[in-house]
Amino acid sequence: MSAQTPSTLAQRSGSANPQQPKWTSTGGSAPSTGAVVRATLLIAGAILVVTPVLWAAMSSFKTQAELAQTPPTLWPNHPTADNYTSGLQAFDFVHFLTNSIIVTVSATVLTLIINSMAAYALSKYNFRGRTVLFLITLSTIMIPLQVILLPVYQVIASFGMVNSLWGLIIPPAATPTGVFLLRQYMLSLPDEMIEAARIDGAGEFKIFLRIILPLSRPALAVVAIFSVIWRWNDFLWPLIVAQDESVQTLPVAIARFASQQAIPFNQILAVSVVTILPIIVIFLFLQRHIIAGLAQGSIK
């Protein structure tokens, strides 16, 4: 239900091989001035981007008095892990992490299943209402959940889904972006295979499961990445729906923790650092696949 659109939207049917970006002049010769300037800029920029996060991580080891000190210290003078021990004591990290994982994983699986089914029908069947359904899907890419927050909240309230993980998982699952991406990808799959399978007597669902899904892996990967990032970071929707601590996800729990008067800021920083770590670790492991997948899957 997020409005991010993949680059396919306006992508012309390009024919180039995406894995070979070779317009640079860095052949085998000595680096030109341009290349040096570029590398310098890139590295300086990267440092600018990363530094605040590292600094916050350093600060999370400072004492309350040191954090309020002027002028501030760069490195903690007396590094202490107290913020972590007492922060995590007051903040049930494992519980909120579990909720975040449950919501992210199940919403993503649900999204992949229903989006790919719908995309398959919209790309490979000719049926009455197809165009209308597709256009409605397309036009709602632009409706962010935020603008229909109140009526959606009322709908889930009438279904009794407020204050349950279902209320976090189901409503945002039918992402128009995912349907759109997958449909575009599936259009490029040859019809002949489907036809051949039908002649062999394969059922419609079996064809989808055994032929279409495996072939759509790159596009499915992209939708999965989008979905994980969206659901993991979702804030406004869970903020309203998850009213009990028992169903809160990490972002909501942190925001609540951060605005609690009795919690000092150094503990808030410590808890924030702890929540960033898992996703960074996962990213570093899968980085190659994620960035390549985004570039590749959205270009097909």
């Binding site: 008095a65 309020a68 309230a157 407020v162 923790f257 008067q261 009795a262």
Partner: protein, 433 residues
Amino acid sequence: MRLRTKIAALCAVVLATSLSACAPGSPQSDAGPSAPASVDFNSFKGQTLTYVYFTDGPDEQATKDMIAKFEAATGAKVNLQIVAFANLATSLQARLSAGNAPEVARVTDWHPYADKEVDFKQYFGSGFPSEFASGAAATAMDSTGRMLAVPSDVTINGPMINVDAFKKAGVPVPAKWTWDELVADAKKVAAANNMPYAFAIDKSGNRLSTILSQFGTVMIGPDGKNALDKDKAAKALTFFTDLVKSNVSPKDFWLGSGSKYTGANEIFLAGQVPVYLSGPWQVGAFAKSATFNWAAAPNPCQERCGGFPGGKFMIAFKDSKNPALAAAFVQWMNRSENQREVDKTAYWLPTRKDLTDSGVTYANRQSDMSSFLSQINETPSDTWTDANSPAFTASATALISETDKVVAGQQDVRTAVENISAAIDKAIKAAGS
């Protein structure tokens, strides 16, 4: 072309059905006054209630301990949900509008939920309010005499000072002072201790009302009408905003927190300011985490003395799953021995008549609590009706946002006072309708 007509038709149909559909929300079911309900404390075994709570620090553990006793005594289970004070109203509204009312909540203003609250007289008889000190009981009654909340603790605003810093500066702690003396002393102490600020106050309409009252005016009068004396209010706001503008009181703190409530407790705890105007609910937290000697000090007098009252209430929701258990829990928590027990460790001032008569012996910091207690007697009576008016919260919101604009240099004090007065009128009208 054909497609376009199709879509248009579809839209028209959906739009028509949605517009002709009945009004949103659930129909109001008000059964009117019903017969007194009886409460059997032995009938709650295995039942659960949700208690939405906000905390200022040590009261959390005190409350948890008392809840454990309640659970042991009744066999019921209490699901304690702690929310940030800044999000309390939002959280309750979202729950109520989704039909997910908690059984019990701790609030500072019970009026917004009046249509959903249990009348405690129905459960515990018309004599129930008289168990509480008359002032406190009055703040929990609506205009028709229903008791829609139980006062669980009273608060009175007043300054706390960094005793070590005062000593170092050689400034004696006065038994009585005016605002000008307070600021002069505070500046001296701040300079001697190299502190960046002299005076801090929470960003809160209730706290700012303290200064209004000391300068001689309240927002809503005992008759429920707009009582803001514009000249006095202008004097108070000029005095205060000058302090903030000149950074005698931290300007960044005041401007950096948006529209939300923010406490200045961290600034005081970090030793950056010698005088901090807050209230007794800070005593417990400071006793635990302050690294210097501190004490409660008398409120400054200008036209009038004393502080500004506030209070916390426990309310029970009618359309929660278990209103009887809710009412029973509230009553149990505020029985004499239980309230005394919580007050002792949470550093709360009691609301019950027997406890205010006998007094509560605190674990320590007794003199600070007594100091706050003594402020109650000096506090003018119209501040109580002001603080407990149904229009107070909305008026206080305007008080903060208009003061904000003065501090930021976007308007002068006169305009702010006019706007506040208009907002009070609006709030009174909205509360009456």
